[in-house]
Symmetry: C2
């Protein structure tokens, strides 16, 4: 039996999603808990990696069991097992050949910025106390839409063989005391959202024009784009699958 597990996590104290030797990672923590509670070694496969310090409102992973399980009971026991940093939102059955990474249709990220000092936003938002031209940042963001080569926003060390992504949403919104960048795509390259945000902020600060921004996309060169913003403001917010993958 194959299941999807829907997870929220505060990534502050983790070396990212992906299992690594001698590092505290989310995948290791969750595999360990599942294996303990199910009484058998249970690997999980996530929809994608998140970097050290990055959070998730919704990360999806799949895992297999020999027999069908009581999903509500397992969710309850996992939530009791984990520290407050990790919460299980749901566990649902999927068809046996469903893959959390390969079947994901779209990933959505949010990047949070606050412009006035806040003791409450500080742990999970980037503090940038400077005036920003948000209209101009949105005009630049609109240039990201569609299927394009985003090599300029990819980390240099990477194992992918192409940099083509289809961005379906790229928009800044003011929400309460935060300025939030919403971006969705079929895939993201390593470090891509943080590089996009860093470059859009240079537009908002008046250091780059819209024309500069368009050129940076076309250059396919990471050194052309702006500096990556800190991981603490970044959330994986939603992973979408075709409804056909779910078993009921």
């Amino acid at each position: 039996m194959r299941y999807f597990i829907d997870i929220s996590y505060n990534g502050t104290n983790y070396h990212g999603w992906q299992i690594q030797k001698n590092a505290h990672t989310l995948q290791a923590e969750i595999e360990n808990a599942l294996s303990k509670l199910l009484g058998v070694q249970t690997p999980i496969m996530g929809s994608g990696r998140t970097d050290a310090g990055v959070h998730a409102k919704q990360q999806i992973a799949h895992f297999d069991t020999v027999e069908s399980i009581d999903t509500e009971e397992l969710k309850f026991r996992l939530n009791r097992f984990f520290s407050p940093d990790i919460a299980i939102n749901s566990i649902v059955g999927v068809k046996p050949d469903t893959h959390a990474r390969f079947n994901a249709g779209e990933r959505a990220y949010q990047y949070f910025i606050h412009q006035h000092k806040s003791p409450f936003l500080h742990p999970i938002s980037y503090y940038l106390p400077k005036p920003l031209d948000v209209d101009l940042m949105n005009e630049a963001a609109s240039k990201l839409l569609g299927t394009q080569d985003f090599e300029s926003f990819s980390r240099v060390k990477t194992d992918v063989n192409n940099f083509i992504c289809n961005i379906t949403q790229a928009q800044w919104k003011r929400e309460n005391d935060s300025l939030v960048f919403h971006v969705s795509a079929n895939r993201f390259l390593r470090g891509m959202v943080r590089a996009l945000v860093g470059t859009l902020l240079e537009v908002g600060l008046g250091k780059l024009t819209i024309e500069d921004f368009i050129k940076i996309i076309a250059q396919k060169d990471r050194t052309a784009a702006g500096q990556a913003v800190p991981p603490k403001g970044l959330f994986l917010s939603k992973v979408t699958y075709p409804s056909a993958v779910f078993s009921n």
Copy 2:
């Protein structure tokens, strides 16, 4: 010259507002910073105390200077001086006889509860994963309105000589993933909001009826009311003054 300073703080790592020997308190931290930056010992007087672990979105304190100061510059320097736990929202001049405690017209508090495990709400909200009858909690809350004796909700060790408060708002609202109790009054007794919330939750959990709740108010006995909820969900959210106190 007398000034009001408007402060937000995350109270998690503090032993409350009020200066105490050998304890890390907000008043001490702020007095120390002001005294350093102004170059002269500068005591502050808050609108009221908050307990250990309680937060403030808006706490007001007054302080005096010999000469008039550049309030924007002082705000900037204080924000740079403090850790992320403390933020200065504004500094404004007030008339010389204005007192942050005695002239406050109304204090407002918010208490945050979340019913689904959340890595992001956890540090500043009380996790209560049980079904609550919020309509009944609001019916009970409405019995708190008006000028009444609230001794049942006051800590036993206290130095006040009466327990009369005028509650002008007492209401539960669902906001995003939180359930928030909003309560405003001319004054609050020690531990009062946390005792009110604990008792209202017993109504919501079906352990007390509305009639029980009315009796508890009338009893004027702290042992009659419910257990206090944890401080981490409590925020002093607003302190209101008559406009006549402001110097411009």
